[in-house]
Amino acid sequence: MNRINQKLQETKKILSIYFSAGYPNLNDTVQIIQDLEKNGVDMIEIGLPFSDPLADGPTIQASSTQALHNGMTTQVLFDQLKDIRKTVAIPLVIMGYFNPMLQYGIENFCQKCAEIGIDGLIIPDLPVDVYADEYKATFEKYGLKNIFLITPQTSVERIHFIDSVSDGFIYMVSSASVTGSQTGFGSAQEEYFKRIADMNLKNPQVIGFGINNKETFNQATQFAKGAIIGSAFIQHLTENSTGKIEEFVKAIR
């Protein structure tokens, strides 16, 4: 069974962390993944940097740009991760924009992910309908879960469609925003979290965007299976480099 499905069957709430590969330094990637796992993080989204990350706010964007300056490329990331499964057991997801994957070749990219032991992909600018028509078969051939986003504006009909195409989890964007632009959740978001929880979808939901501390993590996981922290962790890396990861994780739960 895929590590994502397995992890999501555990009774605990999932803490997932995103960071940009190659940030703050090119060769920090593996160390950061190992430290996150060691401190109890349940799943990691490894950001494949892109020059033009449309869905991201300034924090993740700046870390992407820095990672590219540091020399990160798709091939460099795959080389860094080639032995990752010797030391790391939790689910690993690559999150990146479609163009670099297209240039690597979708089949090659998926094959490489499978060799390394990547469990899934999040590609914000690959729409679910294009995926279903053109790429689903390839992803499935290599055992990769493709994770889709929903937002407060996503229609009920489309949520059901996304749920039907998904196998893993649904990435619930907490509000209409790019990453890193929220502070705390209001009643409108709680209503949205509850509305989705009440739909009883076949895929569990993991909430991202705007999770930055214990309070928001608890709020989100009251309604969803887990939560993803991105910008706040990047901020931590900016301030502490690869130090104090234990403190960061322990402060969340």
Binding site: D52, N99, L102, Q103, P127, A176
Partner: protein, 393 residues
């Protein structure tokens, strides 16, 4: 075979809507409504009236006598330089602002490179009394001070794009982020035939008035609707899309697309996307794109800010790949020389973008009986400082 968009939003293999889910409702609302709304007689009447009374259409199709004599062929210039605000850009912003109003939007955002689309957007927002925010690269704000001042006079807020290379592609990224953050009340007026479907088709339709008028005017002047050649410069490609639109599926009409070679196609300082680009995804559209082998988008270069875009509209990517259009790239130097030549032979100071299109006359041989239409997409007032610096005027 049609060279127009299909029902899924593709031109051949190019186009589509590669957008984050956060943008799906906005883009879907537009996709479901744009054909319906723009086909309404009331919309058409208001659009046509504004083009006539406010923009100054139809723009003349001018027979360039001295040029025609020198090149021994019949050269007509479509005078988009006479449009209000100085270029064809306003045809599109008029159309989109009318659409935005009918969709009940209160707040308008736009991206701009040289500032022409920003000015055209600020202008129609003033006309309709709508809030206007224009994203512009920090570098471009410094380079294009007069257009920044124009936008401010027109009541728009100009927000600097500080990310990436701080130019047009980054301004576009910022506008898209704004739209993600403001999905309900905001309408994004894209300035070219780029972006996710339906934008390339919608913008092409609003600009298609150019080729519609060319047909009517040629019939009057030459007794036939179709020229032998239509020539236009291509950055994102909106003036070109408008110039080609009604000739796309008539293969008797030769289509020439002129890209900016910058300092030379192989110099590393170029914006010749057809020559240098590979299939990729930028700003929600699958198209030809200048990028690294790793798929990172690269920064193009041209002396003309309006041609300085790393991609090209999906319609044009398809015209190139299928061979329907011939693509020619013209250097800064050739274009600048044509800026002087057109000024001194016809008394027309062209925008540097448009000057690129004229350089085709030196690259191709036309027959004496050929009817050649060149789109003079904008006037050169905005480029005066560049001309002054280049020629030490």
């Amino acid at each position: 075979m049609s060279y127009n968009v299909n029902e899924k939003g593709y031109y051949g293999e190019f186009g589509g809507a590669f957008i984050p889910e956060m943008l799906y409702p906005n883009v879907e609302e537009l996709r479901q409504n744009y054909l319906k709304i723009t086909a309404e007689p009331e919309f058409q009447a208001e659009f046509d009236a504004l083009l006539k009374e406010y923009v100054g259409r139809p723009t003349p199709l001018y027979f360039a006598k001295r040029l025609s004599e020198q090149y021994n062929t019949k050269i007509y210039l479509k005078r988009e330089d006479l449009c209000h605000t100085g270029a064809h850009k306003v045809n599109n912003t008029i159309g989109q602002i009318l659409l935005a109003k009918r969709l009940g939007k209160k707040r308008i955002i736009a991206e701009t490179g040289a500032g022409q689309h920003g000015v055209a957007t600020a202008t129609v927002c003033a006309l309709m009394g709508l809030e206007c925010i224009v994203y512009m690269g920090e570098v471009d704000i410094k380079r294009q001070a007069p257009n920044v001042a124009r936008m401010k006079m027109l009541g728009a807020e100009v927000r600097p794009a500080m990310s990436g290379s701080k130019t047009l592609k980054d301004a576009t990224n910022e506008a898209i982020r704004d739209w993600i953050n403001n999905p309900v009340d905001t309408y994004y007026i894209i300035g070219s035939v780029v972006g996710p479907h339906p934008y390339p088709d919608m913008v092409a339709r609003f600009q298609s008035v150019i080729s519609k008028e060319i047909k009517e005017q040629l019939l009057e002047k030459e007794g036939r609707e179709n020229p032998d050649y239509v020539i236009a410069c291509v950055g994102g490609g909106s003036n070109a899309a408008g110039t080609y639109y009604h000739f796309l599926d008539n293969e008797d009409v030769n289509i020439i697309a002129v890209e900016a070679a910058g300092l030379g196609v192989d110099s590393g300082e170029s914006a010749a996307t057809s020559a240098l680009g590979k299939v990729g995804v930028i700003h929600g559209s699958k198209t030809l794109l200048m990028q690294t082998t790793d798929g990172q988008i690269t920064e193009p270069y041209s002396i003309s800010a309006g041609l300085d875009y790393p991609g090209v509209g999906p319609m044009h990517a398809n015209l190139f790949t299928t061979g329907r259009a011939q693509f020619i790239s013209i250097t800064d130097e050739q274009a600048m020389q044509w800026g002087i030549k057109l000024s001194q032979m016809e008394g027309l100071i062209p925008a540097i973008e448009s000057a690129h299109a004229f350089a085709v006359l030196d690259e191709m041989k036309f027959k004496p009986e050929d009817v050649v239409v060149i789109n003079l997409s904008g006037r050169g007032d905005k480029d005066l400082n560049t001309y002054i610096d280049y020629f030490k005027l």
